[in-house]
């Protein structure tokens, strides 16, 4: 059963989000928006706060000793702040965590089953969802009875995505799915994510691979030391001098700018 929401309500809207880990401030007044069915990317270097953003959305900051200090997070017009992780999953917001985190001691089939635990559905619907996931990742069907820990890195990433899809998310959160994968596998995963989005699921993609993210997403944000430093349509960002220099590694500029860049918005679309 899908959660009903008003027309025009964004799949995800984050406003003024500030997050601390004890004395460490990891996010400062971050605002961003993923339109219904949209595809948005968040770029940023190590420690920029990308994973923290997703932890806050999924309600699992507590596992890391973090807390939301200020701001609001809404999905389809409904506030997620203060909800338990299972309630957030039930609201249609599901995460594929950084480093895949498949349940290594469980079989591939059981991992997919675990992905459906957050949504109470009848057997037939779960079976249909599973069939769709296996169509997307046929290799998972072949490995159904195998322990997930024995899969290759790429297969584990497919399983992690497939597992999240078992909950039939309205918004899929992906934390660096290309991490540690060979280029050909990155391409496979990228195509699949694009296909998932075409089928109507909104996607928030976290990436350090800026070229990949800007190619896939319609809109992108750049996080730097916990702030949104830059945002705009992917095409504009890809063309911007700053992005090319910092994230796309284009030649021509070799001056090292300090990390603290004031927020600049390239569009009227700023959230």
């Amino acid at each position: 059963m899908r959660v009903r929401h008003g027309p025009g309500a964004a799949a995800l809207s984050v406003s003024g989000l500030t997050v601390d880990y004890g004395p460490v401030r990891a996010l400062r007044e971050v605002s961003l928006e993923v339109p219904e069915g949209g595809f948005v990317a968040v770029l940023g270097g190590n420690g920029a706060g990308k994973s923290t953003l997703l932890r806050a959305v999924s309600g699992v900051l507590g596992f890391h000793g973090g807390t939301v200090r200020a701001g609001d997070i809404t999905a389809g017009g409904r506030s997620l702040r203060g909800l338990r992780p299972d309630q957030i999953v039930a609201a249609g917001v599901v995460q594929v965590p950084e480093g895949r985190e498949v349940f290594a001691r469980m079989t591939v089939g059981e991992n997919l089953r675990a992905g459906a635990l957050g949504v109470r559905r009848d057997r037939r619907r779960t079976a249909a969802t599973r069939a769709r996931v296996l169509e997307l990742f046929p290799v998972l069907a072949e490995r159904d009875r195998q322990k997930a820990g024995l899969l290759s890195g790429g297969e584990q990433q497919m399983l992690a995505i497939g597992r999240a899809l078992m909950a039939e998310p309205r918004l899929l959160l992906l934390d660096e799915p290309s991490l540690g994968l060979a280029p050909i596998m990155v391409e496979r995963i990228a195509e699949t994510i694009a296909a998932i989005n075409r089928q109507g699921t909104a996607v928030l993609l976290i990436e350090q691979n800026a070229a990949l993210a800007l190619e896939l997403a319609a809109h992108a944000y750049v996080l730097e030391v916990g702030r949104v430093a830059l945002s705009g349509p992917s095409t504009e960002l890809a063309a911007s001098e700053e992005i090319r220099r910092r994230y796309l590694g284009s030649a021509g500029a070799d001056d090292d700018e300090p990390a603290d860049v004031p927020e600049r918005t390239l569009t009227r679309w700023a959230g």
Binding site: P97, F103, R163
Partner: protein
């Protein structure tokens, strides 16, 4: 020859009962990473309920009521006590269960006093003779029931949504939460299952040749803790193997006690702990475990 067979049969029967108790330790540890030191006093509570109820509602009714009530009591301990101490780590919570154990034990020993309470079981001291081997009916019942219950548990653990949620949470609590697993429910469910298993085990610990339930029953049940630890505190297989190992060791020591008059005949009491120590020296995580219980 008949001695060895009797030792094996008796060891297997009491081992199956220890396995029931050890499984309770393991289930709670897997779900919450807490070692439940109140487990044996919950067991005592279950046995006590069967003892006081069987006159009024019959043996079968008393067992059902005792098992259900102990499951509820264990769940209440989880909900009312452990959930409120969320600030502490797993080590703190384990220590909190020692407090719960003391409270329960004090109240139960006050009620039991110095009495030995019969549980009203239908087997009495009847025995079955096969050749020159003599086996008490209670041992056969204990073995049969324990095996059936353990099999049902393992099937549920493997194939039901409850089992998948439990195993997911055991492997990675945060990721399980990201999948929408309700960790609170997993934890409460684990306590309920452990409580039910403990009450059932209490029954078989207090029948022939044991005269009945007394206040030391929980002490006898505590031998299942070395069983769980030596098998691997996070392994269900380990609980079963550990339970049987402890059962057979104990039966063997009792059987040959007169030949090896160590520790003034009290060797049977310490044999389980000795066995555990030896196993842990060789394998710190236990035979089938992946984690050392001391890990915080």
């Amino acid at each position: 020859m008949s001695t060895i067979v009797e030792i094996l049969v008796n060891g297997l029967a009491s081992g199956a009962v220890y396995a029931l108790i050890a499984l309770g330790f393991v289930v709670i540890f897997k779900a919450t990473e807490v070692i439940n030191f109140a487990h044996t006093s919950l067991l005592l509570a279950g046995g006590y309920l069967v003892a006081v109820l069987h006159d009024d509602i019959g043996f079968a009714g008393a067992v059902l009521a005792g098992v259900a009530a102990t499951a509820v009591l264990a769940t209440l301990v989880e909900l009312v006590v452990l959930r409120r101490v969320r600030t502490g780590g797993h080590a703190t919570l384990s220590i909190v269960t020692i407090g719960v154990d003391i409270v329960l034990t004090v109240e139960l020993t006050r009620r039991i006093g110095t009495e030995v309470l019969p549980l009203g079981d239908p087997w009495g001291d009847r025995v079955v003779r096969i050749g020159d081997v003599t086996i008490a009916q209670t041992r056969i019942a204990a073995f049969a029931v324990a095996v059936a219950v353990i099999a049902a548990f393992l099937l549920a653990f493997r194939f039901t949504s409850w089992g998948v949620a439990m195993r997911a949470a055991a492997e990675n609590r945060r990721t399980a939460a990201l999948m929408g697993v309700r960790l609170g429910r997993v934890s409460a469910g684990a306590w309920a299952v452990a409580g039910a298993l403990a009450a059932l085990a209490a029954l078989f610990m207090c029948v022939f040749p044991t005269p009945g339930l007394d206040r030391t029953t929980s002490l006898a049940a505590l031998k299942a803790l070395p069983a769980a630890v030596l098998g691997g505190i996070d392994s269900t297989t380990g609980a079963l193997v550990g339970g049987v190992l402890i059962g057979i060791t104990e039966a063997a020591v009792v059987g040959y006690q007169n030949d090896v008059a160590l520790f003034g005949g009290g060797f049977a009491e310490i044999a389980p702990y000795l066995l555990m120590t030896v196993v842990l020296l060789a394998r710190p995580a236990g035979l089938f475990g992946t984690r050392e219980p001391a890990r915080v």
